[in-house]
């Protein structure tokens, strides 16, 4: 049985914990904000690495971004990824999710010419754009089955070319079987990441990263990438105003939890006038019922 050939799409994003918003223009100020590997992508990487641990195969990390994004790929390499490709070209500047998924899909097509791809992984979304659109966009363009918000992959059978994935939804977990090749977007918190060994760190620091420009990524049509290929229009940007609400301490007698409940309820009603109206209506009704009995 051959091991699967896997592509993991990763993105370098500004560390949202350290981001600041320009007080006048409301835009994100990237200057001085360190860039990190999109945290959700770490779960995608880990899921791919676990498959490789079980079945062998090969993992390529793919990233689109400026030359500095090499750092994100370096990190992926240190975790045990075999190869890394950075798709980087000035022509990509200003790409929205549509243009990005076009570019990544083309690069993956190129990679599949080297060796057919069985699985593509992405994080469920990035922490800078938060759209969660690029993964599905890539799947659609490549004609791959899409399994989004996956939290577990119990079965991957390379002989029959099938995969079973648990997909987290608002109503519960769906257990889905799909044919390969497919694209999986991985949910956060599904696993604990690994800590690379020193020889692996040294190998990753040494390994050359392949950098593809637009042409190398197989993109001819300039109208599909960059600003031209991005129909998204930003209508308005604003920074949410600061909330001045503070936590409040409520004192109550430890032996009488019901006093805490009553106090809490009072506080809630004070803030929610509609609920207060409903509650008093209910109370009236209850009273009438009680009287009629």
């Amino acid at each position: 049985m051959r091991g699967p050939n896997i592509v993991v799409c990763v993105k370098q994003v500004p560390d949202s914990a350290q981001i600041r918003v320009h007080p006048v223009t409301g835009t994100i100020m990237r200057q001085g904000v360190p860039a990190v590997l999109n945290p959700y992508d770490l779960f995608a990487l880990e899921e791919a690495l676990r498959i490789k641990d079980r079945l062998g195969g090969r993992i390529v990390a793919l990233c689109m971004g400026p030359p500095q994004a090499e750092a994100a790929l370096r990190k992926a390499l240190s975790l045990g990824v075999d190869d890394a490709v950075l798709v980087s070209d000035r022509a990509f500047a200003g790409s929205d999710t549509l243009a990005t998924s076009f570019a990544l899909a083309n690069a993956i097509r190129r990679l599949s010419e080297e060796k057919p791809i069985d699985l593509v992984f992405t994080g469920k979304q990035t922490i800078d754009g938060d759209t969660g659109q690029v993964g599905p966009g890539v799947a659609k363009r490549l004609g791959m089955h899409l399994l989004s918000y996956v939290c577990r992959i119990p079965i991957l059978d390379m002989d029959s070319g099938t995969i079973v994935a648990h997909r987290w939804t608002e109503r519960g977990v769906q257990v889905l079987t799909s044919r390969l090749p497919c694209l999986i977007t991985v949910l956060e918190g599904t696993s604990q990441g690994r800590f690379a060994s020193l020889p692996e760190m040294i190998r990753a620091a040494r390994q050359p990263i392949r950098v593809w420009d637009r042409k190398a990524a197989g993109i001819e049509d300039l109208t599909k990438i960059g600003l031209k290929g991005s129909p998204t229009v930003v209508g308005k940007v604003f920074a949410p105003s600061r909330r001045s609400e503070r936590a409040e301490c409520i004192e109550w007698e430890p032996d009488h939890p019901e006093t805490a409940v009553a106090l809490l309820w009072e506080k809630v009603l004070a803030r929610q006038p509609e609920w207060a109206a409903m509650a008093s209506a209910d109370a009236r009704k209850d009273g009438e019922e009680a009287r009629s009995e």
Partner: protein, 432 residues
């Protein structure tokens, strides 16, 4: 068989990267190991960068290094409780040609500097902590890291792991730091739009201002405060000897809050959005706390070697200088085919002694002691000079000679003739 390097540099701050860069340029195989997520991620400094030491390594650094502003104005303020007496040196000429002092954000600068070392061929590994030095007999032969299969070997290990240098302490190279040898500095970075800073400080473009403050704000503790302008932020901080903090039982943040509320600073800091609050130790022990600097197969550079000139707040330049000189020593010995033994590596210290590094540190070796034993320099005199200025400048019908007499009397009353004389001698001794 484990992989072997010519040199391992522990730490990717200015000292470590200067050493690694120099070694790599000399054709050596270098492994640099950084504990933080990336070089600079753990660094806390004001920060001012002096061009000289960096220029020796990267002559065209001005074209590409992430610099904030170059200093055209430096102020020194002697603070009383409500007023200050100060001096200002402003020289816009410094903005022409090649400025020699810049404000920087260390998180960005260190990353750039380490990248230069990488480009020269250094193998940099981050998020990895060196736990111990590996020895064969007395000789250091490598390091053990916190990663699996974490041992790695080299002919020489350069310790550039900062003021705490856990490694040096564990290896018995350096004793535990005394509370009197380090200052604890706290710093805030406050964000402002560029135009606000330009208006407030009378600067434009890339120009910047640095203000150093001494006086009653440290409440008799040996220390200084500072305010530096960055492109879109101000760094404001205060640091005092750790032993003094312990004695006075004042939390550092209280001191910083008081500084920010001082009438001299409040208008400059108005409407800032706090982006960072950090604290760090600064090696202030000076010449006398410099440990043994080299041994069989190892050298120590930068803060780990206590190389900070606290009087002139020079640190990162001494770090680069010591890093470079350590690396040059190693290169020279290797080229001569000499083994990196304790006696051969003593050349490093001899080099430092003949450089400005040791000369400056030796010059100020008494400063802390004098200030610690004569705290009136930090409290009484700031008060006296501020009052003197107040007296002299007030026009109230009293003639000027009488004012001068009143000022002289105030000094005599607080310090006496003998006291004044002995203070003058002490100061001269401390700074000569």
């Amino acid at each position: 068989m484990k992989e072997r390097f010519d040199a391992i540099v522990v730490g990717a701050g200015p000292a470590g990267s200067a050493a690694a860069l120099t070694l790599a340029r000399g054709g050596r195989k270098v492994l640099q190991i950084e504990r933080g997520e990336y070089p600079g991620s753990k660094n806390v400094q004001g920060a001012i960068l002096y061009a000289d030491s960096l220029q020796k390594l990267i002559p065209n650094f001005r074209d590409e290094a992430p610099l904030e502003r170059h200093l055209i104005e430096q102020r020194l303020w002697i603070l009383d409780d409500r007023s200050y007496l100060g001096s200002t040196f402003r020289s816009p000429a410094a903005s022409e040609a090649e400025p020699d002092r810049y404000t920087i954000l260390r998180a960005q600068f260190d990353k750039w500097f380490a990248k230069k070392a990488e480009e020269a061929g250094v193998l940099l590994i981050c998020e990895t902590t060196v736990l111990d030095l590996l020895r064969e007999g007395k000789r250091v032969v490598g390091v053990r890291t916190d990663r699996e299969d974490g041992e790695v070997y080299a002919d020489v290990v350069i310790l550039a792991d900062g003021v705490n240098s856990v490694l040096a302490r564990k290896a018995g190279i350096r004793p535990e730091l005394g509370a009197g040898e380090v200052a604890l500095a706290v710093k805030e970075v406050l964000f402002y739009p560029q135009e606000t800073l330009e208006d407030r400080f009378g600067i434009q473009g890339e120009e910047g201002v640095a203000i150093e403050m001494v006086g009653k704000i440290t409440r008799g503790m040996v220390g200084t405060a500072f305010l530096y302008t960055n492109k879109e932020s101000l760094a404001v901080g205060i640091g005092c000897l750790l032993s003094d903090f312990r004695r006075e039982k004042i939390p550092p943040y209280v001191l910083l809050e008081r500084l920010k509320e001082h009438p001299a600073l409040r208008p400059l800091l108005r409407d800032g959005e706090m982006k960072e609050y950090t604290a760090h130790l600064i090696p202030e022990g000076g010449y006398r706390s410099i440990p043994k600097l080299s041994g069989d197969g190892w050298l120590i550079v930068g803060d780990a070697g206590m190389f900070v000139n606290s009087v002139h707040r020079e640190g990162s330049n001494l770090a680069m200088e010591t890093g470079r000189i350590a690396a040059e020593t190693v290169l020279e010995l290797k080229e001569a085919g000499a083994p990196l033994t304790e006696s051969n590596l003593r050349l490093y210290r001899r080099r430092l002694e003949s450089s400005f590094v040791m000369k400056d540190l030796r010059k100020y070796r008494h400063v802390h002691e004098v200030l610690e034993n004569n705290r009136h320099f930090l409290t009484t005199y700031p008060e006296l000079v501020n009052r003197a200025a107040e007296t002299l400048l007030r026009v109230d019908g009293v003639d000027k000679r009488a004012k001068e007499r009143e000022i002289a009397r105030s000094f005599r009353k607080r310090r006496s003739y003998r006291g004044l004389l002995s203070d003058a001698v002490k100061l001269w001794r401390a700074f000569r």
